[in-house]
Subunit: 212 residues, 2 copies
DNA sequence: TTTTGCATTAACAAAATTGTTAGACAATTC
DNA sequence: GAATTGTCTAACAATTTTGTTAATGCAAAA
């Protein structure tokens, strides 16, 4: 064996494929380019994965799995009081997306291009997500009963949270040149943005003195 | 001439290309498929537009122009009091995206794939957008001074508005199977979602009795 | 009527991309 | 050490996709 670790080339190809598919999409990706990135001949790629499609499926599987984790991050820590729980959910979801900034675009594109592909993902998580919704909704209703927060539909709340957290990264390259100094320092901007998202959600669910 | 209107085939091709590029992206689009959609031979397509790239540029130009309109919709009506102005901005931006639901994904993908392409767009709107920001920020500061609303950074506010409005359509196909009856009726859901976005932004900018 | 020029088609050419195969080579097993 | 197995390469084949061209028709101008 050339390579110290067994399966090293296979792993190199997978890593290169992940990069390529996440940035270029299925259609934009080139098997030759993946092979080049991985430092192997392109025959090698076909040797290990047979076809571009099969290689892609491997990446999709892994990424969909990562994706479903993010849905759970958003649920927050059930041991906390509901208000802190939601805020914690916003923060951990934001951090999750920050660590996987290319994931949302990939998933969104994939779902449009190959909806049938995604049925698998949906079936895998739909009922779990549904159960979690119901559980958190009960908590919210209880807290609302006690006047601790506004009564809201948890699904709407989740959409808002995902919207603000995910869009931050989706649109970063588009916004950056339009926002002047605000986005010049990425780290600092992300910190501010996270705080802004928390604040926005917090105000959405806090009991208001004067109803709208 | 076969066709009544001059340039009919050219227009047919453009319409087909718009459909194809918006849904499939540059890499996914096929010139033969565009020609088929348009009901012309694919040689015809090359006759009118020479290359796939040139045809694509035509679509990009038009779509980027549409895009910049949406940035102005979000500014609201300057003749209104600032609070109504912002709410009106949220609503008209939502409506705009609802009428161009494929646009955001197209722009986001394009900006990642061909950043240099987008410099043109940015240069075209950066200073106009900048001026509008400053104008609205002044209004906000004045209103905040009078205790009519919270003092907020208008750029952050815009990001929040765009996030929630755009993400609704970006993620619709992903969310729909996870949300049960909430999203079953698209029209009704969009109405609810628009109201939710308005409510969320409104609460973000309303003066609170007890600060956070 | 002849000419000019655009629109159109079918057939073809070129390029890019994916996928295959026969065989070399090294390591492992028997 | 011979046979076997899995890894790897180079060259090639097939397919898909884009782009070209030469020939034809047709409408308006001269």
């Amino acid at each position: 064996m050339e390579n110290k670790e067994k399966g090293s080339k296979e792993k190199q190809i997978l890593a290169a494929a992940e990069q390529e598919f996440l940035t270029m999409g299925y259609d934009g990706a080139r098997t030759t380019s993946i092979a080049r990135r991985a430092g192997v001949t392109h025959a090698m790629l076909h040797y290990y994965f047979r076809t571009k499609e099969q290689l892609f499926e491997r990446i999709v599987d892994e990424k969909f799995s990562t994706m479903s984790h993010s849905m759970f991050a958003i649920m927050g820590d059930p041991s906390l009081p509901v208000l802190e729980r939601i805020i914690g959910g916003v923060e951990s979801h934001f951090d999750f997306v920050a660590e996987n900034p290319l994931l949302p675009r990939f998933v969104i594109n994939e779902i449009v291009a190959r909806p049938e592909h995604c049925d698998i993902l949906h079936k895998r998580i739909a009922h779990v997500v549904g159960a979690l919704y119901r559980e958190l909704q009960l908590e919210i209703d209880r807290a609302a009963e006690n006047g601790e927060m506004e009564r809201v539909d948890v699904r709407m709340l989740f959409i808002s949270i995902m919207s603000m957290n995910i869009f931050t990264f989706l649109a970063y390259p588009f916004m950056e040149p339009l926002m002047g100094e605000l986005m010049a320092d990425r780290e600092q901007f992300l910190k501010k943005r996270k705080a802004e998202n928390v604040e926005t959600i917090l105000r959405r669910i806090k009991k208001q003195k004067d109803a709208v």
